[in-house]
């Protein structure tokens, strides 16, 4: 196997992995603060992608530009979602949260299916078909853009978590909500805002991922499951772990497709997940 191909695969995997990492970051944010697993996370990312589709079809808006609309829209949805639904589930058992969020998945995906039918759709962007040549490696431009944005966003989010007051409130509330409240932090408000932020983040991740994906109403849950694997692999509750997990899964997936036949290839991230889980149940960087 030429080193060229290996390098190409690894780079492609890392680029994809940055997107997974961004999705996982949002999930981790929600989980760390509320201990709630949002099975509908991926479905909202899918929603953002379909919104981009609509904006493209009606207003000829490039999906990248649609980010400006998607983010506030999804932020707002996140606010409402938390206030109406999730806030009540804070004390509930895992199974109930799973049921609630799976119900949400059904609702979102069926609404999408009713509006857009189940046919797979792709959305073109201005740069969808261009490629960039780096040395001997070919990289699709949209993938590179996605990586660049993901890297910048991740860094920004990480900076926010560690250098701003709001970030400190989030980490404090995640670490010990009672102590945080005693310190004067409005834990309830932090939760709402962070949850909305996590969903709003999907307003960026969705459009970024559009050039790489075929849209179908049913892929939301698959995306979520994949993201769960990433966060458990990286360590539940660890933001750094979410990124690392994303990159690792991305690379694993890329090599899977390189080494295995197409129908079997997707097994690699899952197998990796199970193996890591067995030997390090807290994930790679877990502190849960």
């Amino acid at each position: 196997m030429e080193p060229q191909i290996l390098l190409q695969t690894a780079i492609s995997g890392l680029l994809f992995g940055s997107i997974y990492g961004l999705i996982a970051f949002g999930l981790t944010l929600v989980f760390a603060l509320t201990r709630l697993l949002n099975f509908s996370h991926g479905s909202f990312m899918l929603l953002a992608m379909y919104i981009s589709l609509v904006l493209h079809n009606i207003f000829r808006l490039d999906p990248y530009a649609s980010i400006l609309i998607n983010v506030p829209l999804l932020f707002g949805i996140g606010l409402l979602l938390f206030r109406w639904l999730f806030a009540r589930m804070m004390e509930s058992h895992l199974i109930m949260v799973v049921q609630l969020t799976l119900g949400l998945v059904f609702i979102v995906e069926s609404l999408l299916q009713m509006t857009f039918t189940a046919d797979p759709i792709t959305v073109p962007t201005a740069i969808s078909s261009s490629k960039i040549y780096l040395g001997g490696i070919i990289v699709r431009t949209p993938l590179l853009v996605a990586f660049a944005v993901a890297a910048v966003l991740s860094s920004a989010l990480y900076w926010m978590l560690h250098r701003t007051d709001f970030g400190r409130f989030i980490r404090a509330s995640a670490q010990d909500p009672v102590a945080a409240a005693l310190m004067g932090i409005n834990v309830g408000r932090v939760r709402v805002l962070a949850f909305a932020l996590a969903i709003g983040l999907l307003g960026v991740t969705g459009p970024l991922a559009i050039p790489m994906w075929v849209l179908e109403p049913s892929i939301g849950l698959e995306l979520t499951l994949f993201a769960f694997i990433v966060i458990v692999l990286g360590g539940l509750g660890s933001f750094l772990g979410a990124f690392a997990g994303g990159l690792l899964v991305g690379v694993a997936e890329a090599f899977g497709h390189l080494l295995l036949p197409g129908t079997l290839a997707p097994i690699v991230p899952y197998a990796l997940f199970v193996i890591v889980l067995l030997f390090k149940p807290d994930g790679l960087m877990g502190e849960a």
Binding site: L37, I95, Q99, G103, I107, S110, Q113, A265, F273, L277
Partner: protein
């Protein structure tokens, strides 16, 4: 009469009443009835692990597929009766279930990780099966209808399928009734509610889980054989993708986890509603029946966390002879 006796009487009466169905229902409705009972069966089988032991397992697609594929493959290539194929399917499914649970216990996986791990195993199963040409690859296996008869598990009409699944579901309900009152059932619930306390009083948590998982896996595999023969078709997506069992789990939760009637009621209510909607509204608006499902799930979890059965229980004012609320264990962290 005690509640237990009442349950039995009710079960017997209901079963008898249901036997009349094929006579009065059209073929279309018979099909729906068969699916309904199949879901009731699957929900009850899953409930053994999910509701009574409290292990949120997504591994059941593997058991279901074992039954379906084993019977189909052996029938096609070796002309073996699907009943024997069912035994083979069970023989495959049970070790898989035991292996997964043993691994989980050995490595002390918390509930969430267990759920995700079983989900990962199911997905891996899907990828593997669809990559094996002998098992039909992506397209699966078609069972060519041959001579009819009970031994061949093929029939000219739907009615025999209906009676089979009715007997199966009634039998399973009886089994669950016994299970609830048995030592194993008590041990299971204790393990569910507080595993450490259970161990402290001498209950072998792992042993209990393994025994219940084995039963659940075997029962689910049998259902897989049934479904394969009913549809005359086994394929990776129908049998191994999460779709089917997510519905099973949700129906069980809506009906009431960890109860005798919960899974059955959940399926009896939701499957026909779904199928009716799918036949009417969904033709104009594809996916509408899923929307209704989603709304129902959300509403039920917000208003009736104990499920439909829980509502009746509270109204009836039963003083707890049960150990607390079914299906709700103190959160022990993920």
């Amino acid at each position: 009469m005690t509640r237990g006796m009442r349950d039995l009487v009710f079960l017997g009466t209901a079963t008898l009443a249901f036997t009349a169905a094929p006579v009065v229902l059209s073929t279309y409705w018979q099909h729906i009835a068969i699916l309904t009972l199949l879901f009731a069966y699957l929900c009850a089988a899953w409930n053994l692990v999910g509701g009574y032991v409290g292990a949120f397992s997504f591994a059941h697609p593997l058991f279901f597929a074992s039954g379906g594929y084993a019977a189909a493959y052996l029938a096609i290539h070796y002309k073996l009766s699907p009943w024997l194929g069912m035994l083979v399917g069970v023989a495959v499914a049970v070790p898989i279930g035991l292996a997964i649970d043993t691994l989980a216990a050995r490595f002390r996986l918390p509930m969430l990780s267990y759920a995700l791990a079983t989900m990962a195993f199911s997905h891996m199963g899907l990828f593997i099966v669809r990559s094996v040409p002998a098992l039909g690859g992506i397209n699966g296996l078609y069972i060519v209808p041959g001579t009819s008869g009970l031994w061949r598990f093929q029939f000219e009409t739907k009615a025999p399928f209906y009676y089979l699944i009715l007997a199966g579901t009634a039998g399973l309900a009886l089994l669950v009734w016994w299970f609830e009152r048995s030592k194993l059932g008590l041990e299971a619930r204790v393990v569910r509610d507080n595993e450490r306390a259970a161990e402290a009083i001498g209950v072998n948590a792992l042993g209990t889980r393994l025994r219940v998982t084995a039963a659940s896996a075997a029962l689910t595999a049998a259902a897989g054989t049934f479904y394969g023969q009913f549809a005359l078709y086994v394929d990776p997506v129908s049998f191994l993708s999460p779709q089917l069992f997510i519905q099973v789990i949700l129906f069980t939760a809506v009906g009431g986890m960890g109860t005798l009637w919960g899974p059955i009621v959940g399926a009896l209510v939701l499957v026909p509603v779904g199928e009716i909607l799918r036949g009417t509204v969904s033709t104009q608006y594809p996916g509408a029946h899923q929307l209704i499902y989603g709304i129902v799930f959300v509403v039920v979890i917000l208003l009736m966390p104990q499920g439909i059965v829980g509502v009746f229980r509270r109204r009836g004012g039963r003083a707890g002879s049960r150990t607390g609320r079914p299906g709700v264990a103190p959160a022990e962290g993920a």
